[in-house]
Symmetry: C2
Subunit: 451 residues, 2 copies
């Protein structure tokens, strides 16, 4: 048997999926407002069809548009689990494994000042109706009562954190959560969401080490993204050019992903100095000071912020494989597989019934399902779907869902406890005893995690 593996060969891919016009339309729309317009939109529309068909996102177009634009969208059950797994991995790598990083959680709202301002304006007597109208509209447009980044929250928690860390540098404050990006006016027009899920680390270090720390975190973040990648070279980093730096940043680095339509930023790392800290502090400067060994210093800040929604999209694009196989009779078979990393895959096992006594097989499936769920292996109860489906169709479905293993319970299982277990990546089927399967899958996942 001969296997061709064509990764990101877009021409082949797009030919298969170019028959759906509404998606094509909205992608044209996206492209119009997107950062780059090279590359076709069809690989993206093919990807989105898979995501909609397989419960990653709901079928409404605006969710697909939002995701393509790097915004949060409503997620279906598989999308929820993929995003949860990514956030969990980020938290584990950045917070849980580091004694000097502390998780925080801050409010989404940034005060109701906006509302008061508008009311003040409406009460001004020397404005005529037109002026009032204009000024009120202006204020309303500018009014962002919700946070646009997680940095401000971390800066507000800096002083209370000093007791925790004994004023010793370096340390970090981490948070994951929703931010609002209403500045993107075109988004509204196409029904795109203005919400983004961010994962942010604010790192406080001595001025003399801030450049080294930026290099350290750049390496760490690139490695983290690549850890889950099938094609690691699609993830890269680049320095932000001087003209792109805002006034409080000395240096900046971006983690990029090469999407079919161009390169997009997944994460930014800014070296901010101490300006932000001073701007946000009304008390004495001494209250901000920390210890760097025996010296007393005002810390410098590195602000890391990843767009988790765009990260989800990057991981999905990166793991999509379109495989062609020629069987022994020279027939061509095409296979679309989401080869998601075992730790990220939303469904680890699908459980299905073969032929045989339905009620007995069902009981075995139910028992096995609960055994999986008990040890935290997310399992898909395929046996509950009573619509007839061929094995080929079942495998197509599970491959597109990124399911690691398909376990078949059949007559054989009732006789001798043997299951048929199919591996997503190798497509090899092997028999395994029902008593071994849990341990086998747990080991498979933990091995992949520690590579």
């Amino acid at each position: 048997m001969l296997t061709y593996c064509i990764r990101r060969q877009l021409s082949v891919f797009s030919r298969v999926n170019c028959n759906i016009s509404p998606l094509h339309e909205l992608l044209q729309f996206c492209k119009q407002y997107g950062k780059s317009s090279d590359g076709g939109s069809d690989p993206a529309s093919g990807m989105l069809q898979v995501l909609q068909r397989r419960f990653f996102i709901p079928p409404d177009h605006h969710h697909a548009v939002s995701l393509l634009k790097g915004k949060t969208c409503a997620y279906g059950p598989l999308g929820v689990d993929l995003k949860r797994n990514m956030l969990e991995q980020w938290w584990s790598a950045v917070v849980r494994s580091r004694p000097q990083v502390f998780g925080i959680s801050t409010l989404h709202g940034v005060g109701a000042k906006g509302a008061g301002e508008v009311e003040d304006l409406l009460n001004q007597r020397d404005l005529n109706k037109e002026e009032l109208g204009e000024r009120a509209s202006e204020l309303l447009r500018q009014r962002h009562p919700f946070r646009t980044s997680l940095l401000q929250g971390a800066l507000a928690q800096y002083v209370p954190s000093l007791e925790l860390t004994n004023r010793k540098l370096p340390f970090g404050l981490a948070e994951t959560g929703l931010c609002y990006r209403p500045e993107d006016d075109e988004s509204d027009a196409i029904g795109c969401s203005s919400e983004v899920t961010e994962a942010s680390l604010t790192w406080f270090c001595s001025p003399r080490t801030s450049s080294q720390w930026l290099d350290y975190w750049t390496r760490h973040r690139l490695q983290w993204w690549r850890k889950f990648a099938l094609g690691p070279t699609d993830f890269s980093v680049c320095d932000v050019r001087d003209e792109e730096l805002n006034k409080s940043a000395f240096r900046g680095v971006k983690v990029l992903y090469q999407f079919p339509w161009g390169t997009e930023t997944l994460e930014t790392l800014w070296m901010l100095g101490d300006a932000e800290l001073l701007r946000n502090h009304t008390g004495k400067q001494a209250e901000l000071q920390c210890r760097d060994g025996k010296k007393i210093v005002l810390p410098h800040i590195l602000a890391l912020s990843a767009n988790v929604d765009r990260g989800v999209l990057a991981v999905l694009f990166n793991s999509l494989q379109h495989i062609q196989k020629v069987d022994s009779k020279q027939r061509l078979h095409q296979r679309t597989v989401l080869k998601l990393h075992p730790t990220l895959a939303p469904v680890k096992v699908a459980l299905d019934m073969g032929k045989g006594s339905t009620s007995e097989l069902r009981q075995v499936c139910e028992g096995l399902l609960h055994e999986f769920l008990e040890v935290g292996i997310s399992a898909w109860p395929g046996y509950m779907d009573t619509t007839q489906s061929s094995m080929d169709k079942l495998h197509t479905k599970y491959d597109e869902m990124g399911v690691l293993f398909t376990v078949m319970v059949g007559e054989n299982t009732l006789e001798n406890g043997l299951l048929l277990v199919r591996n997503r990546d190798t497509t090899i089927r092997e028999t395994m005893h029902i008593s071994e399967i849990r341990q086998f899958i747990l080991k498979y996942i933990s091995t992949a995690e520690n590579v």
Copy 2:
């Protein structure tokens, strides 16, 4: 040695903690607007002091007020982990262990319609300035661009979910996330947040079973809350009285917690019939229908919604013990312990150094810390705090943080690998070999989980 255990004996408790006036003030304020005004405010202020001192919440008063009022506040590192653990337990009990419940994630914003409405108003020519001002203020007050419950999101995902479930009842859609409660006008005045973290299950079932399902979920939810309780009887359920039911609800149940100042609602369960589903659907009614065995029916809805922030507060109050001990010399010792359930406790182990060669002991601590973190045991690096502190002070601190075990690395450890391990709940210290400690703690937690 004689031990008195005085749980919720408020008189003793309040005498210890009544010396802080700003907190007292704000609690008076809260009480004024709170649901009930019986019970003193001192036990609450004592609790809040512990939470502020031990990094559960930041020291600013408005965070404490928000939490007392059942709203989200900024959380410090320990608060973040406690809330994460609770959300994780909820997700595991409601979603992950049930094949017929699917996790979803919907947008926080509910469209930017409000802004347009205001602009329309400002463009109306037949209004005079005063009318314009009034109407605009009114609109601004009413403008809630963000979701106030998770139910609407679940209803919007109902039709896309039908393919997933093969139109078979019952099934559920679950989501956890932030909701906004701006209706509470007094909150703004005292700087209280208008954000609440909710955990919501929308359960679709056949009309004939909806009452049984309400009973089932009521039992489930009460059991879940009580599972983590030191004093389970403080959690209770009650039926919502007919006059409190809104027009679309047939029945309602509340899960309550008995706080020192009165009873508050942690969770509501509404039996909503099919009205909400029909109201939110513009297509044919047949698109909403499901299978109940062989019958085709329009499902009824149960809407469960828990206030996770108030839940965090309830769990904290429930786990706080004030213990008096009389030692062999008839001296009275007082001890405040947060006896948080082992699965919820934000820190499982604190690691500290005894006397001896600092650099060598430190190395052992660092190695052990990473061993703990590797297997997901959250550990507190007490050895990094170089300020001198007596053992008594250390235990007071860790007891108030709810740390399950305090592990001391000393000279002994360097010689024969033995550690001194103190149990939070029994205060008993035992020696244990360094090679056994990880397994011991993992087993302790998993045993508590499965009780």
